[in-house]
């Protein structure tokens, strides 16, 4: 009995649909709890990207490109770097040294908290965009 390619992967498709939300949630958890446990921007970016890579492997690259189009990825790559450098420029404008987070809020501790939050978010967004772009580059077909 001949099985077409999409029929062969039924079990994988169902299981992937169940697993991807948990991977995305874990990525968000690692991003925002990097201050209190192991984690941070890089790990969270790689986890977030691997959810999309899993989707691309199981459902085909065309479907994943409809979910996350390459134009959006290009914006994400640049937005993260802009966020990081923008935080540095903001600290310069507010009177401190480059990337001196103490001047960002009324209190040095709060300033550090906000500065690290913004910086890690920028790193996470850039790493997600770059890794999914790498996957699209190496997996595209035609």
């Amino acid at each position: 009995m001949k099985l077409y390619p999409r029929q062969r992967h039924r079990v994988l498709q169902v299981v992937t649909k169940l697993v991807i939300p948990f991977v995305l949630m874990f990525g968000l958890y690692v991003q925002f709890h990097g201050d209190y446990g192991p984690g941070g921007g890089f790990q969270a970016g790689v986890l977030f990207a691997s959810a999309f890579i899993l989707h691309g492997l199981i459902f085909g690259l065309q479907q994943t490109r409809r979910v996350l189009s390459p134009g959006v990825l290009r914006v994400m790559m640049s937005l993260g770097v802009l966020l990081y450098a923008g935080t540095g420029a903001l600290t310069l404008l507010m009177g401190g040294n480059l990337l001196d987070y103490d001047v960002l809020a009324h209190d040095p501790l709060h300033g550090q908290h906000w500065g690290i939050f913004a910086v890690e978010l920028g790193v996470g967004i850039t790493v997600t965009g770059v890794i999914v772009t790498l996957f699209y580059g190496f997996a595209s077909k035609r």
């Binding site: 479907q63 990081y84 990337l99 890690e120 920028g122």
Partner: protein, 202 residues
């Protein structure tokens, strides 16, 4: 007990590395590289480096394996069969290894708290004591990475961005690859519209 676990994991790493040298099939070598990264991540946990283990497991045995497999799907899977291996390279490698082992005889033993890496230049002690007052977060590695050494992390983000731009300009998003023209969907499925067939400008 921790030392025994570390010794066993290190021995596994050495065996896997020898396996990578000997194998001629590139697909198997890539899978062994993923296994190598995973065992190294386990060894990092035994060394108390939990952030590093997280990153190595995710990046080394996750993303890196995918990239290698993607690159292999464009090229051949096997090395060309060769005659003998070059003996000069083996001699050179053994001599270099012997010199390096001779150099480690003076190094501080594993785990000593008074070695030079721990006490000069007092940075580690300062970070561990002052970080909770100046930065206010329990994870010292994140506070050093993002606050005390924030400029280096900016450079690293730029390197990652540059790699993304480089791969985009080298590979683009559409490659030519030979494939059989078999229909993807079974007769009963709703067919998916291929967005590459529609005129699209990137």
């Amino acid at each position: 007990m921790e030392t025994v676990v570390a010794i066993v994991l290190l021995t596994f790493l050495a065996i896997v590395a020898v396996g990578i040298i000997v194998l001629r099939d590139l697909l198997a070598a890539v899978v062994l590289l993923g296994l190598y990264s995973l065992i190294a991540a386990g060894a990092f946990v035994v060394m108390d480096a939990v952030d590093v283990a997280f990153t190595e497991a995710a990046v080394g045995s996750g993303v890196s394996t995918i990239l290698f497999l993607g690159a292999l799907s464009f090229t051949k899977h096997e090395q060309k069969p060769r005659g003998n291996d070059s003996i000069i390279a083996l001699i050179f490698v053994v001599i270099t290894g012997g010199l390096l082992i001779y150099g480690t005889l003076d190094m501080p033993h594993y785990g000593r708290a008074d070695s030079a890496a721990q006490t000069h230049p007092d940075l580690a002690v300062r970070f561990l004591e002052v970080s909770i007052d100046e930065v206010g977060m329990p994870n010292v590695v994140t506070s050093v990475l993002a606050s005390y050494r924030g400029y280096d992390t900016l450079g690293e983000t730029l390197v990652v961005f540059a790699a993304g731009v480089a791969v985009l300009s080298l590979l683009g998003l559409k490659r030519r690859r030979p494939e059989e023209e078999a229909p993807e969907d079974a007769p009963g499925d709703t067919p998916t519209i291929d967005p590459d067939d529609v005129q699209s400008q990137y």
